[in-house]
C-alpha cells in the first residue's frame, strides 16, 4: 500500500506541495485533481522518486522509500508526453524494464507479448514508435510501465495529448484494464470529468494543499469548501443569514427561506452570516401563474441557453446571477421569473462570505 505522510515540496519561495497526506487503497484508482500549477505533477514525481520532498515521507508496503531513487522504487510511470525511447522499437520499449533487471530476452518475450495484447497492440513489436499514432503511443507507454508488474502505476495526464473523442474512449478502456489487473494507480489530471469517469477516489488539490479526498459522489454532493464545490461542476453562491433557531434553514437576501445543510465540520453560529451553495440542477424556474411558496426567489431572466436534453437559464437575483437548469420553454429574456429549489435538493452553507 502507498501512503504519503505530510509531504511538502518548496521551490525557492513557491510552495508546490504543502503537508500532503494521502493513502492509495490497494487495487483502487486514486486521482489527483486540480487546476494547472496546483502541485499534481510535483506530488507524483515525489512518489516516483524523481523529486526529493522538502519534508514528509513516502511509504510503500510499510517501507519508508523517501530516500530511495526512482530505480529502486520500481513504480510504473506513464508520462504526459509518453517519453518513449525513440531509438528502440515497440518490443524493445516494452521489454526495457524486464531487461534492465537482468531478465534474458527469451524469458521476457512471453510477457512482452502478453502486455502488448493487453493494450491491444499484438504483433506491433517490430514497429518504430514514431510510426504509431498518438493513441497507439499512449498504449505502448502504458504497456512499458505495466510490463515489470509494478506495485503502483503512476500516470501524469496520460490522455491529455489525445483528441477529444479518443480521450473519452481511452479512459473507459484504461479503467477497465486497470480494474482487470487489480492495479493500484495514481492518476493525475486537471479534467474533472476525466477524474470522475476513471477513478474510485479523487483527491482535489489547490495551491499545493489537499482540499478533500473521497469518492466522486462525495466530492460532488458534499464538497468540503466552496473551492471544491465550484471546481467540480457548476455552483451558485448566494449570501444568506443562518436561521437564529438552528442551522437547518437560511434566509436569503430576497427574503426566501431555504432548507440547508452545513458542509464543514466547523460548527456555525445560529444567526450568523453564511454563503449558500446550490447547483443548477437543484433549481428550476416556475411556470407563470404557479402558486408561490416561502422558498421562492424572484429574479429577472437574463437569457436562456438550449442544451439538448435541458435548458439553462441565467437569472439576475439582486446583485448575483444564478444558473438554473430546467424551466418553461417560453420564458423570454427580461421576464420577471421565480426560482425554486427542487424537492430534496442538497443546499449547502459555508460560514461567512465564501463566494
Amino acid at each position: 500500500m502507498l501512503r504519503l505522510d505530510a509531504l511538502s515540496r518548496r521551490f525557492g519561495d513557491t510552495v508546490a506541495v504543502s503537508e500532503l497526506s494521502l493513502e492509495a487503497e490497494p487495487g483502487q484508482i486514486l486521482s489527483l485533481l486540480g487546476p494547472s500549477g496546483c502541485g499534481k505533477t510535483t506530488t507524483l514525481r515525489m512518489v516516483a522518486g524523481f523529486e526529493t520532498p522538502s519534508s514528509g515521507r513516502v511509504w510503500l508496503d510499510g517501507r519508508d522509500v523517501t530516500r530511495l531513487g526512482a530505480q529502486q522504487r520500481g513504480m510504473g510511470m506513464v508520462f504526459q508526453n509518453y517519453a518513449l525511447f525513440p531509438h528502440l522499437d515497440v518490443w524493445e520499449n516494452v521489454a526495457f524494464g524486464l531487461l534492465a533487471r537482468g531478465e534474458a530476452r527469451r524469458d521476457a518475450a512471453p510477457r512482452v507479448e502478453r502486455v502488448l495484447e493487453l493494450v491491444e497492440l499484438p504483433g506491433y513489436g517490430k514497429r518504430r514508435v514514431q510510426e504509431l499514432s498518438g493513441g497507439q503511443q499512449q498504449r505502448v507507454a502504458l504497456a512499458r510501465a505495466l510490463a515489470p508488474e509494478p506495485p503502483v502505476l503512476l500516470l501524469d495526464e496520460p490522455l491529455s495529448n489525445l483528441d477529444a473523442a479518443l480521450r473519452e474512449r481511452t479512459r473507459t478502456e484504461l479503467r477497465a484494464l486497470l480494474k482487470r489487473l487489480g492495479m493500484t494507480a495514481i492518476f493525475v489530471t486537471h479534467d474533472q470529468e476525466e477524474a470522475f469517469a476513471l477513478s474510485d477516489r479523487v483527491a482535489l488539490l489547490h495551491q499545493g494543499h489537499l482540499q478533500q479526498v473521497g469518492t466522486p459522489e462525495a466530492l460532488y454532493t458534499a464538497p468540503a469548501n466552496p473551492f471544491v464545490a465550484s471546481f467540480l461542476g457548476r455552483a451558485n453562491f448566494l449570501l444568506a443569514t443562518l436561521d437564529p433557531a438552528g442551522s437547518s434553514h437560511a434566509r436569503l437576501a430576497g427574503g426566501a427561506v431555504w432548507p440547508v445543510r452545513t458542509a464543514t465540520d466547523a460548527p456555525m453560529q445560529p444567526g450568523s452570516a453564511a454563503t449558500v451553495m446550490v447547483r443548477p440542477e437543484a433549481l428550476r424556474l416556475l411556470p407563470p401563474g404557479s402558486e408561490l411558496a416561502p422558498a421562492d426567489l424572484q429574479g429577472c431572466l437574463v437569457d436562456r441557453r438550449f442544451a439538448g436534453a435541458m435548458s439553462f437559464y441565467r437569472v439576475q437575483v439582486g446583485d448575483r446571477e444564478l444558473l438554473v437548469q430546467g424551466g418553461p420553454a417560453d420564458a423570454a429574456p427580461g421576464d420577471a421569473v421565480w426560482v425554486r429549489p427542487r424537492e430534496g435538493a442538497v443546499i449547502l452553507v459555508f460560514p461567512g462570505d465564501a463566494s
Binding site: 530505480q71 510511470m77 508520462f79 517519453a83 518513449l84 525511447f85 526495457f96 534492465a100 533487471r101
Partner: protein, 505 residues
C-alpha cells in the same frame, strides 16, 4: 549544488580554466609587460607603426568584405535548394556544403592550381585568347577575398538553409493574404525572420576571415593582415608585439561578436503560430533547367577542389604548357605510401587529430550534460568559457598556447609542450571544444529529460540509462560534432605552422 553535480563540474571547470582562460590571460599579461614589469611600450609601438595599423585595418575590411561576398553566394544558393524542387536537388545540395570540410590550406593551394599564373583556368583563358603572358596574377587582397568567398559561403548556405527549414510557412502566407507581393514578403517577413541565421553565419565568416592565415600567407605578398603580421613578428622574435597583435585581433573579433549579439537580441523572434511547417518546395516546370543551372554553379564552386584531386594524379614535372595534363599516374600516391619520409607527417596528423577528437568527445559529453541538465552557480560562466575558443581567432589561441607552454613552471600550471607530441592535439582539442560541446549540448537539449526518467522508473541503473538510452540518442549530434572536429583538426594549418618543430614532423 549536490555532490554528483560537483563531481561532474569540477573536471570540466578545471579544464576550461586551465586550457581556455589561463593561456589567454597569459597573452594579455605579456602584452602589458616588458622585462617583467608593467609597460604600455608594446601598445605604443603598435599604435605608432603604420604597418601594424595597416594590417589591422586590412584584417577588418577583408573580413567585412568576405561576409558580404559569402552572403551573396550562399544565401541565393540556400533559397534555391530550400524552395525549389528539381532533379538531383539532394545530391547537389549536399555537394554545395562540401568546401567546409576541406582544410583551408588545401583550399588555398587548390586556388593556386586553378587560378594561379600557371593554373588550369588561367591557362585556359590564356590559350583561348592567345595571350603571351597569363591574363592576371593571383595575388593581393582580391585573391584573398576570392578564396574567402569561395570557401566561406558554405556558412551562409548551411545556416540559411537550416533557418528556412525551420521558418513556418504560415507567416509568409499571412503576408500574402494581406496583399503583400513576393518581394515585399521576402523583404519584410522572410529575411527579418532569418536574421538569427544570417547573423550566425556572418559571425562565423567574420571570425574565420579574421583568423584566416593560409590565404593571406600564400597570396598576400606584401599585403599584410593581422594574422600574417603576427607570424612575421613571431619569426622576428618580438614576443611583446606578438602579444599586443594577438590582443588587438581578439578584441576586434569580440567587438564584432558583441555588436552582432546586440543586433540579434533586437531581432529574435519566437514563433507565435501553431505552425504549418516550412514552405513546400515548388516544383518548377522544366526543373531540369534549374538542375542544370544549379549543377553548373556547384561545379564552379567545387572546381578548385576537383583540381587538387586531378593534380594529385599528375606526375611531378610532367605538366608544363598543355591545357590538360598529358600524363596521369598514381605516382604521387605510391611515393606517399612507400617513402616513410612523406608518410610520417600524414600519419602523425591522423594520430594527433584522433587523440584530440577523442578528448573532445569525452569533454563534450561531460560538459554538454552538465550545461543541459544541471542547475548550478556559475553555469553562465562555464557556458561562456566553452564558446570562448570560438570567439577568439585561431591565431590568438595558437599564440596563447605557444607562450603558456614554452616554460616549465608546474606550480603555475605551465609545462614545456612546444616541440612535444602533446602540443598539437592540445591545440586542436581546445580549438574544437565549442564545436563538439555545442553539438552535444544541442542533442541533450532536444532530448526530453522524461526519457531518462522513464528509464529510471523502469529500474535501469544510472550506467544502464547512460549506455542504453542517453548515449544512443545523443550519438548523432556527438558524431557530427566529432567528425567536423576531426576534419578541421586534420587541416588546422595555422596552429601547426606556429607550433611546428622538427620533432613532431
Amino acid at each position: 549544488m549536490n555532490r554528483r553535480t560537483l563531481v561532474l563540474a569540477a573536471p570540466v571547470v578545471l579544464v576550461l580554466l586551465w586550457l581556455v582562460l589561463y593561456p589567454n590571460l597569459f597573452v594579455l599579461g605579456d602584452s602589458f609587460s616588458e622585462g617583467g614589469r608593467f609597460s604600455l611600450q608594446h601598445y605604443r609601438r603598435f599604435w605608432t607603426s603604420r604597418s601594424e595599423i595597416g594590417a589591422l585595418w586590412a584584417s577588418v575590411w577583408i573580413s567585412a568584405a568576405s561576409v558580404v561576398l559569402s552572403a551573396l553566394l550562399g544565401v541565393p544558393l540556400a533559397f534555391l535548394f530550400a524552395r525549389y524542387q528539381f532533379p538531383g536537388r539532394r545530391l547537389l545540395g549536399a555537394l554545395a556544403a562540401m568546401p567546409v570540410l576541406l582544410p583551408p590550406l588545401v583550399g588555398t593551394i587548390s586556388f593556386l592550381f586553378l587560378y594561379g599564373e600557371s593554373g588550369f583556368f588561367t591557362r585556359g583563358v590564356q590559350l583561348l585568347l592567345g595571350l603571351e603572358s597569363p591574363p592576371w596574377r593571383l595575388a593581393g587582397p582580391g585573391a584573398i577575398l576570392l578564396v574567402h568567398a569561395y570557401t566561406m559561403y558554405v556558412y551562409f548556405y548551411l545556416f540559411v538553409a537550416a533557418g528556412l527549414s525551420r521558418l513556418d510557412a504560415g507567416y509568409a502566407e499571412a503576408a500574402t493574404a494581406l496583399g503583400a507581393g513576393r518581394w515585399l514578403t521576402l523583404r519584410r517577413i522572410t529575411l527579418p525572420m532569418l536574421a538569427p541565421a544570417l547573423g550566425g553565419a556572418a559571425l562565423l565568416v567574420f571570425m574565420t576571415s579574421m583568423a584566416s592565415f593560409s590565404a593571406p600567407y600564400v597570396f598576400g605578398g606584401g599585403f599584410r593582415v593581422l594574422s600574417t603580421q603576427i607570424y612575421a613578428s613571431k619569426l622576428n622574435g618580438e614576443g611583446g608585439l606578438v602579444a599586443v597583435e594577438a590582443v588587438v585581433l581578439a578584441v576586434a573579433s569580440l567587438l564584432f561578436l558583441i555588436l552582432l549579439q546586440r543586433y540579434e537580441g533586437a531581432r529574435s523572434y519566437t514563433g507565435a503560430s501553431k505552425g504549418l511547417g516550412p514552405a513546400p518546395r515548388s516544383a518548377v516546370s522544366r526543373g531540369w533547367m534549374l538542375a542544370l543551372g544549379a549543377g553548373a554553379a556547384i561545379a564552379f564552386l567545387l572546381l578548385p577542389h576537383l583540381t587538387v584531386l586531378l593534380v594529385s594524379f599528375v606526375p611531378e614535372g610532367s605538366w608544363t604548357t598543355e591545357f590538360f595534363p598529358p600524363v596521369y599516374s598514381l605516382e604521387s600516391y605510391r611515393s606517399l605510401v612507400s617513402s616513410p619520409d612523406r608518410l610520417v607527417p600524414v600519419l602523425n596528423s591522423l594520430r594527433m587529430a584522433t587523440v584530440a577528437t577523442l578528448a573532445n568527445i569525452v569533454f563534450a559529453f561531460a560538459a554538454g550534460y552538465l550545461l543541459a541538465r544541471r542547475r548550478f552557480w556559475g553555469r553562465g560562466a562555464v557556458n561562456a568559457l566553452v564558446v570562448l575558443p570560438w570567439a577568439l581567432p585561431g591565431t590568438v589561441l595558437a599564440i596563447a598556447l605557444a607562450s603558456t607552454f614554452a616554460v616549465h613552471q608546474p606550480w603555475a600550471g605551465q609545462f614545456v609542450l612546444i616541440g612535444s607530441f602533446a602540443i598539437l592535439p592540445l591545440a586542436y582539442f581546445i580549438r574544437n571544444i565549442p564545436l563538439v560541446t555545442r553539438a552535444v549540448l544541442a542533442s541533450f537539449q532536444q532530448l526530453d529529460p522524461a526519457v531518462e526518467e522513464a528509464a529510471a522508473s523502469l529500474g535501469a541503473s544510472r550506467v544502464n540509462t547512460l549506455w542504453r538510452v542517453v548515449l544512443p540518442l545523443v550519438l548523432p549530434g556527438l558524431a557530427a560534432g566529432a567528425l567536423l572536429a576531426f576534419v578541421t583538426a586534420l587541416g588546422e594549418f595555422v596552429a601547426s605552422i606556429l607550433l611546428y618543430t622538427h620533432r613532431t614532423r
